[in-house]
Symmetry: C2
Subunit: 331 residues, 2 copies
């Protein structure tokens, strides 16, 4: 059969643009014994994919020019030569950026029966939700009564981190890039919201939002956000470093904060983490998250682009702040 993929056409310099991507028609092979044909229903675009577009050593291999891109996706088995994966089975996997593909069973995980839309497994019940949970529980060890600051607070990870923070009994301060997002975040119960784009002095805004100081900073942004957080951390504060989206499109190195001596003065602990290192706890996470969802304690926000051909725009939109909650492409 003939289907469509999106390939990396050229490496972006700075903010990615449409020319870096190419929609390609490909012919799929016949199924061999044990294989299945999957039709993708949803695919995820995530900020970390920008890092894979750079040709460098990292925790995950870079994308190669001319190759199909990869990323989290949800698909349905529409043809099967594997007894364990019947036609109709919903599967989660890393073969996003394509409409259909042929696969052995090994890279596919059948979705559990849940009352939620399968797309949740790309967001709140998937990698971004697990990232928020891991950062707060396993890296920063957030405790009830503490003050949590989350940057990119209306993003896929940030919006879950904010809500988990509230459920864990913390005061939560979030920063976002528009008044609309700020309103949405307040509606989720976040205590203090800063629109960093309309704030002259992020440092002062944070001091006003958290005069008691910050115990835990969930870092998604870097740059000025990190600098302001360092100035406002309490002694023995913890920073879980999940991302630094402000720098992902830098074409030349941007200097870091000038106030790193705060690490000594305040005896801070800063830890970078990758959610895949903690995947053995995914079952524990889905159990907790599933219960909170069932109880209506976590609200799910998604921004959806339709059609594979619009996946590049969805991806580029991540860096333009176009998403509230999880950015998804419906195929």
């Amino acid at each position: 059969m003939i289907t469509q993929n999106i390939h990396l056409h050229s490496r972006p310099e700075g903010l990615p643009s449409a020319e870096n991507f190419k929609l390609v028609e490909v012919t799929l092979p016949e199924l061999k014994e044990g294989e299945v044909l999957v039709e993708n229903l949803w695919m995820s675009v995530d900020p970390y994919m920008r890092g894979r577009m750079i040709d460098r050593k990292s925790y995950i291999a870079p994308f190669q020019i001319g190759d199909v891109l990869e990323g989290g996706a949800i698909g349905k088995v529409i043809e099967s030569k594997n007894d364990n994966l019947a036609v109709g089975t919903l599967v989660t996997h890393m073969m996003g950026w394509r409409k259909h593909f042929v696969s052995s069973a090994e890279p596919l995980t059948a979705l559990p029966q849940t009352p939620y839309d399968p797309s949740y497994f790309l967001g709140v019940m998937g990698m971004p939700g697990m990232t928020a949970w891991t950062g707060l529980n396993r890296i920063a060890n957030l405790k009830a009564g503490e003050t949590l600051f989350v940057s990119a607070a209306s993003g896929a990870v940030g919006s879950v981190a904010c809500q988990l923070g509230k459920l864990m009994g913390a005061k939560v301060v979030g920063s976002v890039g528009s008044d609309e997002k700020a309103d949405a975040l307040r509606a989720l119960g976040v205590d203090e919201v800063i629109n960093y784009k309309t704030t002259d002095d992020l440092n002062a805004a944070l001091a006003q939002a958290a005069p008691e100081g910050i115990d835990v900073y969930f870092e998604n942004v870097g740059g000025e956000h990190l600098e302001a957080a360092l100035n406002n951390m309490k002694d023995y504060g913890r920073i879980a470093v999940c991302g630094m989206i402000a720098q992902y499109n830098d074409t030349k190195p941007t200097p870091g904060p000038a106030n790193l001596a705060q690490i000594i003065i305040k005896k801070l602990n800063i830890e970078g983490f990758i959610v895949f290192d903690h995947w053995e706890h995914y079952g524990e996470f889905t159990q907790q998250m599933g219960q909170w969802l069932a109880e209506g304690k976590i609200k799910v926000e998604q921004t959806v682009f339709e059609g594979l051909e619009n996946a590049p725009d969805a991806f580029i939109g991540l860096f333009e702040g176009k998403n509230k909650g999880k950015m998804l492409v419906k195929l």
Copy 2:
């Protein structure tokens, strides 16, 4: 009696200079019951004192203009109205920067009987030695077979950290600011030494010295040293942040490293610490260190200035790299 103190005369801007200090004659009061008169024998100058000369909130209160400075010192009781502190007792305390002083017993700790010069209790057996030990054992958890990088490696803390690293079974890489210091460090058994002042590319020099990557960075310097270390850390590396001497005399904020995203890529842990938080382990430390000294496994290096009037020059010399090992003033 009349004696001499050194007062903070003005707050330094940038590198401290002689005018920031003032030698003052003071008249000491008669001893009250329970008090002793102490004659100082040795006083310590340490980089952290520069921070106390800035009027800001930190882990220790700032020095006040017109007040006598403070710092670690060793003295001898020469007059006593306290039965527990006989004349002749050697004491360690924080009343440096003065020739004599009157004190109650409370701020004084009698030195244990040791075969070493009392000055060791301001260096290898005192705060700097304990800082090195704490950073490696309690913060970075250095293990045998790992690679340790120490900046300011010939300083009071660094020279002990290097030797402890070797005793703990690590490969040790040190950076220093002169060829003479480099030779001295090699003589202590340090595996690889970088003279950062004669190196064009610290990053490349570190990659050459530790091609296997760095497990633990003992951070004393900040700036370019931190940037080079981040680039050369292994996955899951640990950075114990003890000091950032490169920035202590900055008159305006100096931007931090541009490569902080390495914290995520390599899943690093960075922790600032203050030795006083770990002082309950001082007994454990002195027992270990005393044994290593007795066995000749730790070599002690000191740079000594003579006379209270030269204490400001000794202090300023810390930032000019004038010391090998512990910088001391003999009174």
